[in-house]
Amino acid sequence: MNRMPIGQYIPGDSLIHHLDARVKLIAFILLISTIILTDSVPGYCSLMVLTAGLLFVSKVKLKTALGFIQSLFLFLMVIFVMNTLFFDSAQPICSWWIFHISLGGMAQGANVVLRVIFLMIFSSVLMATTAPMEAAFALKSLLRPLQYIRIPTEDLAIMISVAVQFIPVLMEETEMIRKAQTARGAKFESARLREKAASVMPLVIPIFLGAFRRADELSLAMEARGYRGGKNRTQNKQKPLRKQDILALLTAAAVCFIQAYAF
């Protein structure tokens, strides 16, 4: 019942917590490209070292960073098995009907699974160390150039930050409704699929109604205070990047570069 939600911000005092969120977003993108460029054993070893370093510096617990494994385990297994069975390879170890088990297939499966795992670890660290509002502001400022191709980035930014701010509220409301329906006899914890499916509606409908109700109230409140769409709004002042931000950015770029060329 009291699981830690995946991807939650955990206030802290580490170096990574104090970095500019824009820097963290860019570094994250760089690290993802690094992951995608990696496909050899030494490459994964060095990613592992990198991850250990990142967890150490960010003071995020391994348990938190790997929190997703439980819910993704089946998914990862399926990916691995599919790759192993169906990868087209010149020298299968053994073949039966349309299945060809090969070393190449296993390697391919391991590759995909490892990439997903590293990706999830890095995003867990990003989310654990970045307050949602900071992330929303960072996204907004990184998206700003898109204004020039007429994408309404201001409205997008408002939408994102409103959504982000309402996540805890909605989670609390969901929890309350879940409890209320449980008390009325809904069987969310039942092992039987039929009962589980039947308990979806009592949860989903009130949550949607609640979300619409809140959206209604919020839009009234925003208009009452003079909000008229995104254009010409006062800008939040951007803090300039500090020395450690630039250093972090360079480190991420260097890691990406080295990883891509060395392995």
């Binding site: 019942m1 009291n2 830690m4 955990i10 206030p11 802290g12 409301e173 309350m176 409704i177 409890k179 209320a180 329906q181 449980t182 008390a183 009325r184 006899g185 809904a186 069987k187 509606m201 009592p202 409908i205 009130p206 109604l209 609640g210």
Partner: protein, 286 residues
């Protein structure tokens, strides 16, 4: 069917940075047919305590016993618990979701192995009990009703289960005085019918008028437990806990401080009036 909490503690999100100890070794026993009020400052653990009684939370340590059986023991049947203990949360109207009022009220009954005639009579009874007309309202969409009616429908959904213990978390917050009084009358009728009622509220007047016993929580601990007049007799401590006593009690307290010889176990307006009339007759009032 008594409810017993035996050294019950509860901690939210243990082992994380969000860890919050909400209840600390609370021991209390509530007998059949009692009408109990729970008071306490916001965040003191009232909601946590009643959710533990309803089996919606599992204690971090200690036991919750119903009729002497541990409800969190593997052998205890959840269905039995849901049938016996009904809980009404603060905004019960938000849990409605069915296409008609009738279906919404009957939601919990699906699990009780009743035939359709029994279900219908229970739904009718529950709706009439909360003061709605079954014939008029049962085919309406529950989402199209007014706020007050929605709340009544949601409460009818809990009553339809005929719980022996009815728990309510701040049910009268935000109701107008008329709706509040008729709601409390409803609880009183259920209580007279033998239902155990446990109600969380900040409204000392209402608790003084209707409940017989009050539990006071402070920072997760049970600090007071007793008959209403005993709990309200200690005005200073209640004030130290940031809580009201009922207004008649407060008036008697202030009069007492000014040297008027008025009894200090007054809780309700009638008692205050009787005492004042008595004083006037005997010349104790200027």
């Amino acid at each position: 069917m008594p409810v017993e909490l035996d050294q019950v503690s509860y901690t939210y999100a243990p082992g994380t940075v969000f860890e919050a100890a909400a209840l600390d070794r609370v021991t209390v026993s509530i007998e059949d047919g009692e009408f109990v009020g729970i008071m306490g400052h916001t965040g003191c653990g009232k909601s946590t305590m009643i959710q533990l009684i309803a089996g919606l939370l599992v204690p971090s340590s200690g036991k919750v016993l119903l009729d002497g059986c541990d409800i969190n023991d593997g052998g205890y049947r959840r269905g039995e618990l849901r049938k016996r203990v009904g809980i009404v949360f603060q905004y019960p109207e938000y849990q409605l979701f069915e296409s008609t009022v009738e279906k919404d009220v009957a939601f919990g009954l699906k699990h009780l192995a009743l035939n359709s005639a029994e279900v219908r009579s229970r739904v009718a009874w529950a709706l009439e009990t909360v003061g709605l007309n079954y014939g008029e309202i049962c085919r309406e969409s529950s989402l199209g009703l007014s706020g007050g009616e929605k709340r009544k429908v949601a409460i009818a959904g809990v009553l339809a289960m005929k719980p022996q213990i009815l728990i309510l978390d701040e049910p009268i917050a935000g109701l107008d005085p008329v709706a509040r009084d008729s709601f409390m009358q409803l609880l009183d009728r259920l209580h007279n019918g033998g239902t155990t009622i446990i109600i969380v509220s900040h409204n000392a007047d209402i608790l003084g008028d209707f409940t017989r016993r009050i539990l006071v929580l402070n920072k997760g601990s049970l600090v007071m437990d007793g008959a209403v007049k005993d709990v309200f007799s200690d005005v200073a401590q209640m004030e130290a806990l940031n809580l009201d006593v009922s207004r008649p009690r407060k008036i008697a307290h202030l009069l007492g401080q000014r040297g008027v010889a008025i009894p200090q176990d007054i809780v309700r307006y009638e008692e205050l009036l009787t005492a004042l009339t008595h004083l006037k007759k005997s010349g104790g009032l200027p």
